[in-house]
Symmetry: C2
């Protein structure tokens, strides 16, 4: 694993909510890094989202990212904002980083105020741990209902010299358009102009995190941070931008796939490819309606090629098409054409495919050139188990 | 139970799909009845929906309703339409009713063609049964995944004389805005001008069936029929319209409540009252986003006053409001105000209420005068059980 240069990780047990596991993580860059952020579009924005987005609007640089699990610091009012600010001061003082250079993110229960005594006790051990913990420790620390940690690295050559990229993320439930409860941090040791970095970052997010869904719910805390600190000594220019963009998007897509794979209780990753739509927006509408349909999602869980539920979802999606022009294909087997099921013995044909984790669903609307791809999880007993008893 | 005059019921085992249970039901009115229908808005409309809606567009009268369970005759193309037409001929011939006076509806698996031999064998026994079966038999016969039959009757005085109303319905999954897989039949022995009847009927449907949701999915077959045959000898006029409207809407609301109560796997009926919205449409948007949120629905199943998920759903709903103005109250206990949770010890306060079937959720957006009420079910293991293995 090639970790980008010039970053140190810390991860400790701060006992903020969970006992017996690490729940507080810090990343520090030795150099000031060009910084980008994408945040939830939910009207209820958690305190760290309010803080971090305003920080990045003022100044597109940062040196650190601070993430806690257990409490989301969302719907916590002025007190929540003051607490968030205070955690940055505490950790900044201990780690020798200016508070305004630390980007905060939180995940966990909504509406709980931080226990500040625990934060005060945690700051020094957290700073002391810098450099001892690994990116994997960081990734494990920010987990909530995740069943595995998410970490992806990649090396790419820019003008013949290597630069490294690394992403960590947590997610599982509430994964949806515009990001949902997902925290991700993406770092590289390339040097990139902040405006270019932000644009590349946004493009990557749109092509990855914004194209996955678990349950259609979006959270108050969704955040993706990106830091580019230049410690490799390699600068990305307009000439090499496309190479870097490709790597950024590829890493983000790998992470996004993991988020769906680890969707709460999920057993499937459904790849919904809509083509032939009137517009890309219409294709997205169709893909999301199918990807959010509880009946489609339970059918996939039940390994049932129930195309009827797919077309029923398409039919209520609001996307423009003529019912007779729609073609639905699952794992390469055409199920539906000319307004009715095909003659294929698809239950037999699809049986082996439906046991696999990845299910490819191709939907041609026959109405234009718009297209969209969405990754969706299935809906299972595991999802109910997790979410009917989350707080306790 | 006071059944409206001038109607006969039939219900038999036609063995269309299920063995050992009745699956084919017929209602015949002795007199031509003013007829109304409301149908699914899904782009994929089942053959009986196409047929019945075109029949009613041509002529707002009917004498019979024919409903089968087991096969939806949806996504069955020209053959499906021809089969539907043929079933009306077969049953019409046997029962002595013109085929164009019989309104068809079907429920069950999508994409299967009717086994016409079974229909040919069934027509005579079905006609022979007319008058032997009851409305309750009819209600039981049209069930699919329903756990109980839905039947409501009421008597109302019009100008001092009694008229009767009766409604039967099936539903359970796919209950959503614009009706979902729900078949309902509403009959009265009042005499009502067809235009007035259709308008009253539509008003009742909008205030009842269109305000319930189970899973947000809508089907290819949703149909509500209404017949008013005048057999009571009592005519509803403009002067008595409001009395009749009140009764119609009340009966429809009772049926709609039953549909949510019997939502697939449901243990709760969540009454979501949104007030203070910019418009009624905004209130509906907020109510539906909350009522469709898997996280809210699983929390209700888990008897968890997880207001955080409610505000997260509001925040992504697209409804206009200021986060600080929102007040969320559950079963009379205020949970959220001024952008944060209240001081109430709501877990303790709500514990007894959350064990009840009915959960009242009042959401004040503080942004205008728009309001909307939606009944929603919870999301449970039962839902997954039913839908992960429906076809087999």
């Amino acid at each position: 694993m090639s970790t980008p240069k010039g970053y140190r990780f810390a991860a400790i047990e701060a006992n903020l909510k969970y006992a017996g596991r690490r729940d507080l993580a810090l990343l520090v860059s030795d150099l000031p890094a060009a910084a980008a952020g994408v945040f939830t579009t939910n009207k209820f924005q958690a305190a760290p989202v309010v803080m971090a987005s305003s920080m990045l609007q003022n100044r597109p640089f940062a040196r650190a990212v601070l993430i806690n699990a257990g409490s989301a610091n969302a719907c916590t009012g002025e007190q929540g904002l003051a607490n968030c600010r205070r955690t940055l001061e505490l950790v900044g003082d201990a780690a020798g980083v200016a508070p305004e250079d630390i980007l905060p993110a939180s995940t966990g229960v909504i509406g709980m105020q931080f226990d500040m005594a625990k934060w005060e006790a945690a700051a020094a051990p957290l700073a002391a741990d810098l450099g001892s913990s690994t990116a994997e420790d960081f990734a494990r620390t920010i987990m909530t209902t995740d069943s595995f940690h998410k970490l992806v690295t990649r090396t790419v050559e820019i003008d013949g010299a290597p630069v490294s990229l690394l992403a960590v993320a947590k997610g599982a439930g509430m994964i949806c358009p515009n990001m949902a409860t997902m925290l991700a941090m993406f770092i590289t040791d390339a040097a990139i102009d902040p405006a270019m970095w932000q644009s590349m970052f946004r493009e990557g997010v749109d092509a990855s995190f914004n194209r996955v869904t678990v349950d259609g719910d979006t959270s108050t805390n969704d955040t993706v941070f990106g830091l580019a600190n230049g410690a490799s000594g390699v600068t990305v220019t307009e000439a090499t931008r496309s190479v870097m963009q490709e790597a950024v998007t590829a890493v983000m897509r790998e992470i996004a796939y993991m988020l769906v794979q680890d969707g709460e209780g999920a057993t499937k990753v459904i790849h919904i490819n809509v083509t032939g739509a009137h517009s890309n927006a219409d294709a997205e509408l169709a893909a999301r309606t199918v990807g959010h349909s509880p009946l489609v999602k339970t059918a996939m869980y039940g390994r049932d090629a129930n195309w009827g539920r797919i077309v029923a979802a398409l039919g209520r999606s609001g996307a423009a098409f003529d019912a007779d022009d729609v073609v639905v294909t699952m794992c390469g087997v055409e199920l539906f054409r000319n307004g009715q099921p095909t003659d294929a013995d698809f239950d037999t044909l699809l049986e082996p495919y439906l046991k696999e984790r990845d299910i490819v669903l191709d939907i041609e609307l026959g109405h234009g050139k718009g297209s969209y791809t969405l990754l969706a999880s299935d809906l299972t007993h595991g999802y109910i188990d997790i979410n009917a008893d989350y707080r306790s």
